[in-house]
């Protein structure tokens, strides 16, 4: 059969589609749409003014990561207590699953100085650095945050991502280090073993997060993740490339390494301390290792985005969570590093065993080995991520 001729109706539609003046205009419009470029998106306090309606509107939208606050059968105890004490109604959402994706979600609003509908968002310190650099978060009033000023863990003060120290308040901290499943392999003590030990071949995962994986690799090569040169980065990247090419590395992961480590498909990995505590609670053979060469300390911070209308309410919440008793309640549930001094004593009354856990209340010895990854400018971010992403296959 020949292909059927066009029906008269379809032929009429097609005929009407010869280039007319109207469609020429359309093409010109599309060209304009394509051709305008994107302006720079940095904001300042003068270019993007936020108005605080906290006094009249006693509400607050708090966007956090899933399973990152204390819960019981009735809801979220510490949050309910905050509402009772202050009369501020909190809308708590768990809509942040990934820093890069969350940034993609809100970047258009923040670039145009439009509200995101969130008063507090919790993002990882390196993203805080980017938001501060872009001028996309509001300055906080230290006078409204006496608990934070008094109780913030010293190693989380004066951080490079927040040079003025007045934009971000840590929610929880964590360590990136090594972990292994003792059921399927012997102890793994160093990054070098992880990258080269023959019995681990094809059973190692690393994190797809540049700062965690490359931070540990830089430390293993004797470089400081807080202050390194391009040459030093290349040196550490060389060890990564060799491990990938030899087939040692099975995969680069986000949080999804946890079930594979649990099953034993992965014998050893780079992972986050809070995940490992939770895995170890079910399976004691899973252990976290802080290698001698060092670990990476990071924090997830609360920030108030531009145009959020409840900054003062947000500050009250931040201050509330720096009460050591409240902080201990959260830490007992989430098992990450508690950024609040004094919470350890309060935790002793809730759960003495957790109070002695160095991954929740790190010892001075562990903190001495912990380094922060240096904040990257936009061009540095591009350069290092290009190199890293190519090395990990994407």
């Amino acid at each position: 059969m020949r292909r059927p001729a066009l029906s008269p109706e379809a032929a009429a539609v097609l005929r009407a589609h010869r280039v007319s003046r109207r469609s020429a205009l359309g093409v010109a419009g599309l060209a304009a749409l394509a051709g305008c470029g994107i302006p720079g998106s940095r904001q300042t306090e003068a270019s993007c003014v936020s108005v605080d309606t906290s006094a009249a509107d006693r509400s607050l939208v708090f966007a956090n990561w899933p399973q990152y606050i204390d819960v019981d059968d009735d809801g979220r105890p510490t949050l309910a207590e905050f509402e009772r004490r202050t009369g501020i109604r909190v809308t708590y959402t768990e809509d942040i699953n990934d820093n890069d994706q969350f940034f993609g979600k809100v970047q258009n609003q923040l670039a145009d100085c439009r509200p995101t509908g969130r008063d507090i968002v919790v993002v990882t310190d390196w993203l805080v650095g980017r938001l501060v650099e872009l001028g996309w978060v509001q300055r906080l009033d230290p006078a409204a945050l006496p608990n934070v000023t008094g109780n913030l863990l010293p190693s989380l003060r004066r951080r490079a991502v927040d040079p003025q120290g007045d934009r971000a308040v840590p929610w929880q901290g964590g360590l990136a280090g090594l972990a292994y499943n003792g059921r399927v392999t012997g102890e793994v003590r160093t990054v070098d073993e992880l990258l080269t030990r023959p019995d681990l071949k094809g059973r190692v995962t690393l994190l797809s997060e540049l700062r965690d994986t490359m931070g540990l690799l830089l430390q293993a090569r004797g470089h400081d993740p807080g202050d390194f040169t391009e040459l030093e980065f290349d040196d550490a990247l060389g060890t990564l490339r060799r491990a990938v090419e030899s087939g040692q590395i099975r995969r680069f992961t986000g949080n999804d390494y946890a079930p594979e480590l649990q099953r034993g498909d992965i014998a050893a990995c780079i992972g986050w301390s809070g995940d490992i505590i939770q895995l170890a609670a079910e399976n004691p053979e899973i252990r976290f290792v802080a290698p001698e060469s060092g670990v990476i300390l990071y924090s997830d911070d609360m920030v108030v985005p531009n145009r959020a209308a409840h900054r003062a309410n947000a500050e009250r919440l931040m201050n509330y969570y720096y009460d050591p008793t409240v902080a201990a309640q959260v830490a007992a549930y989430v098992n990450y590093i508690c950024p609040v001094e004094g919470a350890q004593a309060a935790m002793d009354k809730i759960d003495p065993e957790l109070a002695r856990n160095p991954l929740i209340f790190p010892t001075p010895g562990l903190l001495a080995r912990a380094a922060e990854f240096m904040p990257l400018t936009q061009p540095e971010n591009r350069l290092y991520n290009d190199l890293f992403q190519v090395a990990i296959g994407a």
């Binding site: 539609v13 872009l134 999804d256 190519v390 296959g393």
Partner: protein, 286 residues
Amino acid sequence: MTGSRSRPAYLLLLPAGLWLILFFVVPAVQLFGTSLYDPAGSLTEGYRMTWAFGNYPAALAAYWPQLLRSLGYAAAATVACLVLGLPLAYAIAVKAGRWRNVLLIAVVAPFFTSFLVRTLAWQTILSDSGLLVGLLRDVHLLGPDGRLLATPFAVVAGLTYNFLPFMVLPLYASLERLDGRLLEASADLYAGPAATFRRVTLPLAAPGIVAGTLLTFIPAAGDYINARLLGTPGTAMIGNVVDSAFLIRLDYPQAAALSFVLMAAVLLLVVAYLRRAGAAALDRVA
């Protein structure tokens, strides 16, 4: 033809047309524009439109292996879907009788859970300590340290599983209309079952095969979830690169250029395929 008679046709096209313009044409044009921005731009400084056509060869030079791999994996998954889907669709359409609806629902049922969860389930199925790998090791199809997860096989298997219904449903739709009398006639004319299948059933299923192939191949070529969850650094597909360029490296011009390269590559393959297979299929129906 007068204007008044063609007006209903326009009105009928209006909803879909508006939809396409708003959600495909406008974003596609913007994306094309983005692909020509100054590659030295950044979020802070902004991106100037410099008609940088050099972004295309640069992106291709850096990422042609991932592009070829994507097309290869998608082709392999499409063939696997066809091999699995044809007997299945035939059985449902011709042999299932009153079980037909139940089986059709079973084919579609996986869609009731999220794509991500379905793919994660394959991590369990293909796990090194799972039943399947244990069995394959016992019969020495896999070495003692052999594995399925984090191999190209796992990625293609995941793609095949995730897109199988897109193959089965069009195949079913064309086989379901199969006239049993044609098969009888074929048998009367001394064709064995094999010859009947090859000379009668297959040509009648051709439109379904063409549609199923396209519906499977096109999304599979752009997929990045299977490669991320079931693959290894050596199995990254072009979708993984676009994802990393857009979200992590923030290299919008390169990300947009790669998206367009993928679109163009798939379009070229589809046109070539339709010219050969599509015309042949229609010819055979007659």
